[in-house]
C-alpha cells in the first residue's frame, strides 16, 4: 500500500474501506467489537431494569416523576440527525469528495456536541434536584447506563476530530478511508443504543 498514491474519483475503488487487507481486517474486527459492545449495553440495560425505581425506603425519585420527554426527544432527534449527516459524509467518501466529507463530518460533530451539551444539562438538573449518582440503586444504574453511552459519545467526538485534523491536508487514500468508515459505523452504533435508551429508560419510564 502506497500512502502517497493520489486517487481521482475515477481511480477510487468502489469500496475504499475494504480495498486493502488492513481495511478488510478492521472492517470485520470492528463489527465484532460492536458485538461485544452490544453485550456490554445489554448487561447495563438488564441491570437498569432490575434496579429501576429501587432505592432506600422513602426514596422520593421514580422514573415517572423524574424524566421529562421534551428535552430527551430533542436530544434524540439531534442524535438521529447526526447519524444521517455521517451517512452523507460516507457518501462523499465513497465518491472521493474529500471536502464535502469533511464538511458533513463537521456537521456531525456539531450535532454530537449539542447532544452532549444537553445531556450534561440534564444530568446537572437531576443532581440539583438531589438525584445524584450515590442517591440510590436506581440512580447508580441510571447514571451508569446513560453515562456509559455519554462516554461513548465523547470518545466518538474525539475520534472524529482527530481523524479530520490529521487528514485535513492530505485528503483521502485507502489508508485512512477505513478509519473514516469505522468511526461512522461507531457513530451509528451509538445512535442505535440511544434509541434503546430513549425507549427503555425514558418512554417506558414516563409511561409506567
Amino acid at each position: 500500500m502506497d500512502i502517497n498514491k493520489k486517487y481521482t474519483p475515477q481511480s477510487w475503488p468502489d469500496h475504499p474501506e475494504t480495498a486493502t487487507m488492513e481495511g478488510k481486517n478492521k472492517f470485520v474486527g470492528f463489527w465484532l467489537l460492536l458485538a461485544a459492545e452490544s453485550v456490554t449495553f445489554a448487561s447495563l440495560f438488564a441491570t437498569y431494569l432490575a434496579l429501576k425505581d429501587k432505592g432506600p425506603s422513602g426514596m422520593e425519585f421514580t422514573a415517572a416523576g423524574l424524566f421529562e420527554l421534551p428535552l430527551v426527544f430533542a436530544m434524540t432527534m439531534i442524535l438521529l440527525t447526526s447519524s444521517l449527516t455521517s451517512v452523507y459524509a460516507m457518501y462523499h467518501m465513497k465518491n472521493h469528495n474529500f471536502k464535502s466529507m469533511q464538511a458533513w463530518l463537521a456537521v456531525t460533530v456539531l450535532l454530537g456536541a449539542a447532544f452532549l451539551g444537553l445531556e450534561i444539562y440534564e444530568f446537572n438538573h437531576y443532581v440539583h434536584l438531589g438525584f445524584g449518582f450515590t442517591n440510590s440503586a436506581f440512580s447508580s444504574a441510571f447514571y451508569t447506563l446513560v453515562g456509559t453511552h455519554g462516554a461513548h459519545v465523547v470518545f466518538g467526538l474525539g475520534w472524529f476530530i482527530a481523524l479530520m485534523v490529521r487528514n485535513a491536508k492530505r485528503g483521502l487514500n485507502t489508508y485512512n478511508a477505513p478509519k473514516f468508515f469505522l468511526v461512522s459505523l461507531y457513530w451509528h452504533f451509538i445512535d442505535v443504543v440511544w434509541v434503546f435508551i430513549f425507549t427503555v429508560v425514558y418512554l417506558m419510564g414516563v409511561i409506567g
Binding site: 500500500m1 500512502i3 487487507m21 478488510k24 481486517n25 470485520v28 474486527g29 465484532l32 467489537l33 458485538a35 461485544a36 459492545e37 453485550v39 456490554t40 448487561s43 447495563l44 438488564a46 441491570t47 432490575a50 434496579l51 429501587k54 432505592g55 432506600p56 426514596m59 449518582f133 450515590t134 440510590s136 440503586a137 436506581f138 440512580s139 447508580s140 444504574a141 451508569t144 474525539g158 475520534w159 482527530a162 481523524l163 490529521r166 489508508y175 478509519k179
Partner: protein, 627 residues
Amino acid sequence: MSSIAKKSGFGATVWDYITSVDHKKIAILYLISGGLFFLIGGIEAMMIRIQLMKAGNDFLSAGTYNEVMTMHGTTMIFLAAMPLLLGFMNAIMPLQIGARDVAFPFLNSLGFWLFFFGGIFLNLSWFLGGAPDAGWTNYASLALASESHGIDFYALGLTISGFGTLISGINFLVTIINMRAPGMTYMRMPLFTWTTFVASALILLAFPPLTIAIFFMVFDRMFGSHFFDVAAGGNTIIWEHLFWIFGHPEVYILILPAFGIFSEIFAIFSRKRLFGYTALVFATILIGFYGFMVWAHHMFTVGLGPTANAIFALATMIIAVPTGVKIFNWLLTVWGGNVSFATPMLYAVGFIPSFVAGGVTGVMQAIAPLDYQLHDSYFIVAHFHYVIVGGVVLAIFAATHLYWPKMFGTMLSEKLGKITFWLFFIGFHLTFFIQHFLGLMGMPRRVYTFGANQGWDLFNAISSVGAIFMALGVIIMLVNIVLTTIKNERVGNDPWGDGRTLEWAIPSPPPFYNFAQTPLVRGLDTYWIEKMEGNKEGMIYAEPLGDIHMPNNSFIPVVMSFGLFVASFGALYHPDGYSWTIPVLVIGLLITFGSMLLRSLKDDLGFHIHKEDLIKDREGVKTDGHK
C-alpha cells in the same frame, strides 16, 4: 529465537520481545508469564493442602486461608490457564492456517501487556495490605463486606486483564475469518484452529458481562454507588447472574482449546485422520452455543424457583451430548491407528477417563435436587478440578511437549516428560478423587480447618500427599525445560515425524515471516497430503516468491497498558480520602488515551522484506536443517 539472541546483546533481546508484534514472540511472553503465574497459583494450592493436611492445623490463619484460596482460584483461571492457552493459540493457530501473522499484530501485543499489568496489579495486593478474600467468584454479599483493599485489587486487576483477553479474542476471530491461506476452507481448518475460533467467539460475548459486573463492584466499593447494596435498593443477585453469564462460557473458553490440542495429538500419534472431523467441528460449535444457556446451574440454591431450575437443569444435561460425541470420536481415532505413546499421547490418553469423570459429576450436579445436597461441598471442588486439571492442565502440559520443538526448535526430554506425566497423573487422582467422598461426607468447601472428631482426617491427609506428587511432577517439568534449553539439540521441520498440518511444514522455530510463499491448501491435513504424495517441499505455493509486508515493532502497547495500571492505583485508594487519588486516576487515563491518540495519528505502514533476502534466508535455513 536463540540465533537472534546470540547475535545481539541481552538488553537488545529483551527490548525486542517487549516491543515485538510477532505472534510467535508474544506467544513466548504469554508462556513465560502464564507459567510464572501457574507456579504462584501452584504454591498457593500447596499452602491450602498443607493447611488441610490434618485436623485443627494452624499453618494458615482463617483470614490468610481465605486470601490464599481466593488467589489460587483467580490466578489459576485468569492468569495461568487462559494466558497459557492464548500463548499456544498465538504460537500455532496462524501457522495452521498458513498466515504470516495475526490480523492485528499491534493489538496482539496490547492484549498481552494488558493481561500482564492486570496480573501484576492483582498480585501486588499481597504486599499492599492483603489479597482478595471473597473467593474467585467474589460474590457481592461477601465482597462488599471485605475490609481490606483486596477486593479492589481483584476488581481493577481483572478489568485490565479482561480488556486484554477481549482484544485477543477479536484478533483471533478476524485472523481466522480473513487470513486463511488459499484453499483453507472452514471445513479444512485443523481442529485446534476451530476450537480457537469458537473459544474466541465465547471470549467476545462472555467478557463484557464480567467487565460490567466488575465495574459495578468498583463503583460500589470506591465511588459510592449502590448496585449490590440491598439497603439502598440494590440487589446482590445481579453480581451472581453477570458473573456466571461470563463464568460458565469461561469454562468452555478454557476447555475447547484443550479439546483442540487433544484432537491434534490423537490424529498425529495414531497416524490417522481424525475420526468424524465434521462431527467434532459441529460438537465444538454446539458446546459453545449451549455454553451461554446454562449459567444459572451455578445458582440452583439461590432460589430462582422450580421453573428456572428445571430449564437450566435440562439445558445443562444437553451439553453432555456434544461432549460425548467428541469423546467417542477421539476413541475411534485411536482405534485401528498405528499408535505411538509419546509424552503428548500419554497426556491425551490420560485425559479421556479423567475428563469423563469430571463430566459425569457435572451431569450429577445438573440434577437440581441433587445439587442442593452437593452444593458448596468438596464434591464440587473435586468436580471442577477434574474438569480443569484433568482437561485443561493436562492439555497445557501435552501442548508444551507437542509444540515445544515448533516454538523453540528443540525437543523436551521424553524420559523426564513421562516421569512428569506419571507423577502428575497419579498425584492428580490421589488429590481429587477422594475429595468426592469428603464432599459426600459433608465437608464444606472453602473451610480453613476441620475438627478431629469429624472423620475427615485420613482422606484429607491422602489428598495432601497427592498434591506433593503433582508438585514433584511440575518441578521435574521445569528441570526438563532447563536441561533441554542447555542441551539445545536442534530439530527439523517435523520433529514428531507424523505432523499433519501446516505448522509442521516450516522450520522449527519458523522464520519471523512464517511462510516465504503463501501455501496452497488442498485438503484437510494438508501437510500429510503433500507428504503422502512425495512432495519434498511439504507444501505447494499459491504465489511466486515476492516481497513480504511486515508490521513494525511498537512500544506503545506497553505504555497504553501501563496507563491503566497507574489509573487503577488512583481508583483503588480513592475511598481512603487521599488528595492524590483523582489526579493519579486522571494521569493514568491520559497516558492510556494519549498513547491511543498517538497510535491513531502516527502512520505506521510497516516495512518490506525483499525477495533477495528471502532467498538468502531460505538457503541458510536449509543448511541449518541438515546439520
